[in-house]
Symmetry: D3
Subunit: 73 residues, 6 copies
């Protein structure tokens, strides 16, 4: 029954997406008793040139400030 | 006035999408008197590797279980 | 499999919404062979004071220009 | 950075929603190394009379078929 | 032609929403030559108890940390 | 805090998108005092063959009727 839209920067592998889907579905079960069979998840890969924070595209900032913050991903 | 977002697996032809747009617009007119000129429809093609049901990506299940269920599409 | 989000002005009755859901689901079947059991529809009722066309809230225009256009609804 | 929209039937308590937010955020960290501080979650409570599966509003079916399936929620 | 969905905390007045619609529509014209008549804006008021950052509902944090950050709104 | 999804036809340049993000973020500040640092904008490029108005795909109409209306873009 829940429909979950996840918007994130492109670049995750299929394995990571699979793990995201499994983990988010499990989280809904653990938190609110929602059966896994009721959950639909749709991942929306987004280019950094289509995503802005503070009025600046992520494509213009990610090679500097974000390099460290998100270095593990 | 209505804005309709349709999220579905990629693979439909332009002709099928055109038929979907026409049919959904007509359905809104028939069901609630909404004039066709007021309806906007946006189709979001989604890869099966970005779509999960029951915590499993559709790309991992569709070649088996879904083959029969959706054989006509 | 398709997830359909319909954003429209509030005011439709439950019967009209039920007819919309039935009609849109059928339209997807007729247009692209999508089985009814695969379709999820979510209706988002929206206040006219939360909806703008041409930079003007529908709540400010609907009592004039739209009165005729949408008089049948 | 990820923005997560969760559409589900209304009725969850604030505590359950809080647990959902915490769990989904953690799942994104575990699955793809996304730092918690980068995640935004928006929950969209939806009336069963605004949600349809198989062309039928959940408000018309949930008191029968769904009673058992979702009895734990 | 553009459809803009704005998700934000509830609490803005109708006047503020009207100013948002006018300003965003104008911004699209100024930035990319999009005529005002082509733009639809839908505002989604969201309760702080339905919105989470860093895995914590805004309703649990806004009375402390956010008090200063957003004091002008 | 606001999350803004902008759905529009593909074809804008990165410079135009950057200007859109900057302008929309500024408009939210000017209209409602929302600090730029709180705003996330996600642009969804859409093919004209995935967008319908009045039940007709934009890909089928834009080379005629829209040529004049949108000639400046």
């Amino acid at each position: 029954m829940p429909v979950v839209h996840i918007h994130m920067w492109e670049g995750r592998t299929d394995d990571q997406k699979s793990a995201i889907a499994k983990g988010v579905t499990q989280a809904l079960t653990d938190a609110a008793g929602i059966p896994a069979s009721a959950t639909t998840i749709i991942i929306h890969d987004t280019k950094k040139s289509d995503w802005a924070e503070s009025g600046v595209m992520a494509s213009e900032t990610s090679h500097t400030a974000n390099r460290e913050t998100f270095s593990n991903r």
